[in-house]
């Protein structure tokens, strides 16, 4: 994901229907890309930029001590939301680094004993790319397909894990389609077969309950900016009992138990901690509110537009995500039209390759349909008014673009698009 439309040069007066005020800034519906910081998080961070600015690793004076106190409180807050011990949490620059460290760190440490890893084809690029690098080093990697609803096939997973499998990496919540993988079942399977279980929880922390004990999770990647915290900070949970070892990617002063050297960015750590504390406290209410908003949005869209398809499971899905294909309307042109809304497209038509989303393709969504998809993300600051405005805007532009679409015309005339011999270009 993909094309973020930034076109607002042309406020078309006639575009706004009567009684509908265009928002001053586009309505933000891309909460899986990133989130705004919660003002409470910012407030907690501010003292650590100015007065409590010390190096948390300084042992000889109060500046160091108070910074360390801030960092350690944050570590405990991060640990608490996932049911871990604070000694099991190390800070990183974000989920990408955490994923790199988990996969490469574990693979490198245990390489003399085991050389096989398992993952899903729908994982985030940073997991897939780390796997590719490991393959180049000589590791074996199994990329499991997913079912049509985006979920892992547990029987396939069980078959894939061998006595050579060091690690299974399966994300908790997919960044494009929001589907929730069965973590507890995966964890049980990995434990039974003696493989470590790593899960990328960038999109899951604060959205769904997580418990590293109940779910048998051995390593977990966490991101700050997906949960209303700052960008540039993340964490990696590394199990202590039984102890998981990993080879550091960044070496130096031996901070973070030698697993990640470098002076900790105190304000960012504090921000991540506060974001976790707020999320843990408000998760239940927030999930209910977002489910209500999402259902309101989806019900109206389905009522007003035919030929709209949901990608990925609806039942096993976080409340704040929808990924919809608006058949016969190309996603990027739709994004250009709905420039009062900030959403992402699965079309990725801006890339020279013209390849649509690999995640949607993995669900078996055909290429033509993948080009018509939008990811709509709702979050903490989304309002009912925004949702209703978004519905109107999308309905209006889908209708306009369908009137302009030769495929829509053919569909209306009963032509089977698959029967036509299209010239590839």
């Amino acid at each position: 994901m993909t094309t973020q439309a930034r076109v607002r040069e042309t406020p078309e007066k006639k575009d706004a229907a009567p009684g509908r005020n265009r928002p001053e800034r586009p309505i933000y519906l891309d909460y899986q890309a990133t989130t705004p910081m919660d003002p409470r998080v910012l407030e907690a961070m501010i003292p650590y930029f100015t007065t409590k600015f010390g190096n948390p690793h300084s042992r000889s004076h109060v500046y160091g001590w108070e910074a360390e106190e801030g960092v350690e409180k944050a570590r405990a807050q991060v640990a608490h939301i996932i049911g871990a011990d604070e000694r099991e949490v190390i800070f990183t620059s974000g989920a990408t680094e955490s994923n790199n460290l988990a996969l490469k760190g574990v693979a490198h440490f245990y390489k003399d004993k085991k050389n096989h890893l398992v993952t899903l084809v729908t994982e985030h690029k940073c997991v897939l790319d780390s796997m590719r690098h490991l393959q180049e080093e000589g590791f074996e990697v199994t990329y499991l397909p997913v079912k049509q609803d985006g979920l892992v096939d547990l029987a396939e997973l069980e078959k894939a894990i061998t006595d050579k499998t060091v690690l299974v990496s399966i994300m908790a919540v997919n960044n494009e389609i929001g589907v929730i993988q069965p973590l507890a079942e995966i964890g049980r399977l990995c434990r039974k077969k003696g493989a470590f279980f790593h899960t990328d929880c960038a999109q899951a922390v604060g959205k769904i309950p997580l418990d590293v004990e109940a779910m048998n999770i051995d390593l977990m990647s966490i991101s700050g900016h997906k949960i209303y915290g700052p960008k540039g900070i993340g964490a990696l949970y590394v199990r202590r009992r039984p102890r998981i070892r990993l080879q550091a990617l960044i070496t130096g002063g031996g901070q973070e138990r030698g697993m990640r050297s470098g002076t900790l960015p105190t304000p960012l750590c504090v921000g991540l901690g506060e974001a976790c504390a707020i999320a843990e406290h408000e998760m239940g209410e927030e999930a209910k509110r977002l489910t209500r908003l999402r259902d309101r949005f989806y019900a109206q869209i389905k009522e007003k537009l035919p030929e709209v398809y949901l990608n990925g499971s609806l039942e096993s899905r976080i409340p704040g995500n929808l990924n919809l294909s608006f058949a016969y309307v190309e996603g990027e042109s739709l994004i250009l039209g709905i420039n009062d809304l900030s959403v992402s497209s699965g079309s990725a038509c801006t890339s020279a390759s013209l390849e649509p989303s690999y995640v949607l393709r993995a669900l078996g969504v055909d290429e033509a349909m993948a080009h018509t998809s939008l990811r709509i993300g709702f979050g903490r600051f989304t309002t009912e008014e925004e949702v209703d405005y978004a519905v109107q805007d999308i309905v209006e532009h889908v209708t306009k673009l369908r009137d302009m679409s030769p495929l829509w015309e053919m569909f209306q005339d009963g032509v089977d698009l698959k029967s036509i011999k299209w010239a590839a270009h």
């Binding site: 930034r6 190309e330 698009l417 010239a423």
Partner: protein, 131 residues
Amino acid sequence: MAYSEKVIDHYNNPRNVGSFDKGADDVGTGLVGAPACGDVMKLQIKVSADGVIQDAKFKTFGCGSAIASSSLATEWIKGKSLNEAETIKNTEIARHLALPPVKIHCSVLAEDAIKAAIADYRAKTTAKVAE
């Protein structure tokens, strides 16, 4: 993706959207691109007996640049003879719309659509003469 003002203008106010009866003798239809590639253009011309394009219509499934390229193409070919219309190059379309390199294929498709519509019209008239 920043679009040029001209692309935005064609996107917001597309010229000549619509369809002619593709079975009509004086209509040529070009359908190019593929849904799987994210671009399909249908361009139609209505041609007078002396070989002049009197009217043109399009429908496009594709990004803003694809819509703008086909909209512009219909504007340019109206009033031209078939031979003149055939000489329109994708580079002229791309230049006029200030398309970025990744969108050049949209202008190529528009040129192909013009050529396909003309070829379809010619095939029809030749077939008729043969009758």
